[in-house]
């Protein structure tokens, strides 16, 4: 290695050094603290003094045996898969629609981004009021077609559905934009050739669009999965995970354990959070592998 090349390496790292230090101090260290929290038996007192005894996997055992564990896991799976299925399908339908350019299509497509850009607390509180049992516009509209009022947010059988609906609304724009950019990359000549061979619109979608869009679809779904596992704001603001844990996911459960009660249980809260990280990372790694291949 020449001297100037080595000098170049030093310069290269000098430019990257602030971010590396930043990642160590403000990513790795908080994550380490979180891991440490989950392996100790914390009380409020020892949390402040920092002398909690090491308790190994006790917090994890406690969390897995907690009656909330099963429901929280189930709700996390339903919430994630339910949100993804609808976001993706609707996003795909809209992308296929908008890719046929027509007057105003660019502007309308841009407007579709609005739900994704709004602060989550804005979307969540708007949906809360729309889904209000007595005065919400949704129940009023259902009443017009003869369906009785639904207790969207206050009934344990509907709360999870309600937060999924709000989350689908927020997630459609992301799916639309990414799938749209994937559709644009498909050469129009392929469609022209198919049209010459007499393929119908439906055949073109199932035989050409969908197969060619597979790499982009896979990436959209995987990234959507990782994002959806993280969702906390929407659920917490709309239902606080309730009533009676009926919309509790790992993310809201972790928050409730750590911050939601007068007496915080940081250890179990951190343990739930770490389980969530593991799940997110498994799919995250699959995503990265796919993106690079």
């Amino acid at each position: 290695m020449t001297r100037s090349a080595r000098g170049g390496q030093w310069t290269a790292w000098a430019f990257a050094a602030p971010v590396v230090l930043y990642l160590v101090a403000f990513y790795a260290y908080p994550l380490y603290r979180n891991l440490d929290l989950s392996l100790r038996d914390y009380t409020v007192r020892s949390f402040v003094r920092g002398d909690a005894p090491f308790s190994g996997s006790d917090n994890y055992t406690k969390v897995v045996q907690d009656p909330t564990f099963g429901p929280a896991l189930l709700h996390t799976v339903i919430f994630t898969l339910g949100s993804l299925a609808f976001q993706f399908t609707l996003g795909m339908a809209l992308a296929v629609f908008f890719v046929q350019h027509f007057p105003l299509s660019g502007m309308l497509r841009a407007l579709f981004l609005v739900p994704w850009l709004l602060p989550l607390i804005v979307s969540a509180s708007t949906w809360s009021w729309m889904l209000n049992s007595d005065s919400g516009i949704v129940n009023w509209a259902l009443g017009l077609v003869g369906i009785g009022p639904v207790n969207w947010l206050t009934s344990p059988s509907w709360s999870l559905t309600s937060v999924i609906i709000a989350n689908i609304w927020i997630g459609i724009p992301f799916n639309l934009v990414v799938l749209y950019s994937g559709l644009q990359a498909i050469s129009p000549e392929i469609y022209e050739a198919a049209a010459l061979d007499g393929a119908t619109g439906r055949q073109r979608f199932w035989r050409i669009t969908l197969p060619l869009l597979r790499p982009v679809s896979a990436i959209t779904l995987l990234l959507g999965l990782v994002y959806t596992l993280k969702v906390f704001d929407i659920i917490w603001i709309m239902t606080k995970g309730g009533p009676a844990d009926s919309s509790t996911t790992f993310a809201t459960w972790s928050y409730r354990l750590g911050f939601g009660n007068l007496l915080p249980s940081f250890g179990p809260g951190a343990a739930v959070g770490n389980l969530l990280i593991v799940i997110a990372l498994i799919f995250g790694l699959i995503y990265i592998r796919r993106q690079r291949s």
């Binding site: 990642l23 309308l108 005065s135 990414v178 950019s181």
Partner: protein, 269 residues
């Protein structure tokens, strides 16, 4: 289908999609007495500005804090991410692949878990409920994204230009400042917009790290409104409308950057 028919369908779909936004605006102008009317008032004919008066009376300090936190987050994010992007794109240090990988992973870590770690650290350092602490925590949402955007963008700057500057005797720092940065205006705009929007919208860090602070952001302003059970929905929705202004401005002035930002993280160039 003819083109006008498609436009009509497109307008209809957009209207359905944006109905919640319309409803937020409508409710923000609705009088308290009409709030629970049946049928609900679909258009605020007998509108009131009570809600917005409440925003002016009660929410200005929250908005100010959010503005400050947003600007602070933007400055910190760009200052950290732009040099790193230059390094990864043009100087290519050994181990760059590893750093890229870490950045991708970092984006996937749930905010609630970061918040718990930050809480433990801030409590010990005694910096809970501080604006600076919130800026630092909020920047973690944007920095990895920022580095990836800058790297992708700066890779597109021709190597010849960078080398020409070097041959003219410019130092690496000088080349970065006078050649690379000015050419990267679009990516600076994209990263700044998203950093601001994410900091402005953040609820997780605000509620965990600044829940008892003297200066709280607007997301907590809205949250307290809902929590107080005062059920003044016109005031809640008026605050929500005001809190949506940055997103709206962003969409109007920088639409193409927004779409670029959404896809940049997801799709291989």
């Amino acid at each position: 289908m003819t083109r006008p028919v498609k436009t009509a369908i497109g307008v209809l779909l957009t209207a359905i999609m944006l109905f919640p936004v319309y409803w937020m605006i409508n409710v923000s102008f609705t009088r308290d007495t009409d709030m629970r009317a049946s049928p609900p008032h679909l258009v605020p004919w007998h509108g009131t500005l009570e809600g917005y008066r409440a925003v002016l009376d009660q929410q200005l300090p929250y908005l100010g804090t959010s503005l400050l936190v947003g600007i602070g987050t933007v400055l910190l994010t760009v200052a950290l991410a732009a040099p790193a992007g230059y390094s990864l794109a043009k100087l290519r240090p050994p181990g760059a692949g590893g750093l890229n990988f870490v950045l991708l992973i970092a984006q996937m870590i749930p905010g609630i878990i970061m918040a718990m770690g930050f809480y433990a650290i801030y409590l010990k350092l005694g910096v809970l409920n501080s604006t600076a602490g919130l800026i630092l925590a909020d920047s973690t949402i944007a920095v990895p994204f920022g580095v990836l955007i800058f790297t992708a963008f700066m890779s597109g700057i021709p190597d010849e230009l960078v080398q020409a500057a070097r041959i003219d005797g410019a130092s690496s720092w000088r080349t970065f400042r006078s050649v690379v940065l000015p050419m990267s205006r679009n990516s600076i705009v994209t990263v700044s917009l998203f950093a601001f929007l994410w900091a402005w919208s953040d609820f997780v860090f605000a509620s965990t790290l600044d829940g008892g602070g003297a200066h709280q952001p607007i997301t907590l302003g809205i949250y307290h409104y809902i929590g107080n059970n005062n059920q003044q929905w016109n005031a809640i929705m008026a605050t929500a409308v005001v809190a949506s202004i940055p997103a709206t401005v962003l969409l109007i002035v920088a639409q193409r950057y927004v779409a670029a930002g959404v896809t940049a993280g997801a799709v291989k160039d």
